[in-house]
Symmetry: C2
Subunit: 198 residues, 2 copies
């Protein structure tokens, strides 16, 4: 059995990433969506190991000390991070792993694991991103402008990603993500065992 | 419209490359199969521009002098080569170009155009390649052994290719080639215009 690979998916708030990723999971079995660890309190309905791995601060700090995170950050007084252990267990089982993380986290992961494949999901245009954020109805106009600015800043790093997928339609974006994952498994380094066994 | 890309497909005799490429053309429109130029005489039924671009020796030498070939070689007294002009015309039209060439030609092309994507098609095993060559019924046992030896030598360079596709079934091989071509169009350098237009 081939070992799985890790794929980072980044993209601005409102780009439709979670819709695309859910559709990708329908199309492509054998995926593991990485569940983050956090020190914040569970909200009603949130389950440990499903929505987050809920850790206390001491454990989180211990895991940091033991280099147990692919990436982590502190955000409004709580820690958030990607534990290595679940990612590695999934890859050993032959599953591909999706890390839904933003640009700063992606830099941390690739500094530790340069073989990680990085995909940036972009909106077809800034006007369309603004329209999607407005339609979502969860943010004030001021907050939407802040998100747009942040998206444009993050976008400056898009050329450092391995792939650049434009979410014009969910179907196109899913097809491209699916193709990228298939293609990445055709790299010679992933098939060296087959080559050497010949 | 996006510019097309050039894909080199190499693989040993008997691996089933032409079956796979014909199926790929069914699945993926907008492909141009590069037609080689040659100085050998047309055989009955061969048409200029379809099976080969038939050139006289003087013209071929002139094209060499003008750097008009992506690669060329002499084989039993005749020249064979890949003219740049048809490849470039197709790419400008937005078509992806397939170059069905062997390992030496691939080295020449990528030294001129490092952006060319190289895909090696391999048999699932040497035993299976031998079986396919035998079943084809066109070669003597001695010739089959020579082809196998040549395949094993060419195979030593497979790790220098960008992708490695195993032709276990035509369907799998075509799916992988299709995915590779889609994924390659998601590279940021191919979408820089979209990025900069934002």
């Amino acid at each position: 059995m081939n070992k799985g690979k890790t794929f980072i998916i980044s993209g601005p708030s409102g780009v439709g990433k979670s819709t695309v990723l859910h559709a990708l999971l329908e199309k492509r079995k054998n995926l593991y969506f990485s569940v983050s660890a956090t020190t914040r309190e569970p909200r009603p309905g949130e389950e440990d190991g499903i929505h987050y791995h809920f850790l206390n601060v001491d454990t989180f700090r211990e895991w940091i000390a033991k280099d147990e995170f692919l990436e982590y950050a502190e955000y409004v007084g709580n820690f958030y991070g990607t534990p290595k252990r679940y990612v590695d267990a999934a890859m050993i089982e032959g599953k591909d792993v999706i890390l839904d993380i933003e640009v700063q986290g992606a830099i941390q992961v690739t500094s530790k694991r340069p073989e990680t494949v990085r995909i940036f999901i972009a909106p077809p245009s800034w006007g369309e991103l603004e329209r999607r954020l407005t339609e979502r109805g969860t943010d004030t106009p001021d907050k939407i402008q802040k998100r747009l600015l942040r998206a444009k800043v993050e976008f400056q790093t898009a050329h450092t990603y391995d792939y650049f997928v434009i979410n014009d339609t969910v179907e196109n974006a899913v097809n491209e993500l699916d193709a990228i994952m298939t293609a990445e498994h055709c790299k010679p380094q992933d098939r060296m065992e087959i080559i050497s066994a010949k």
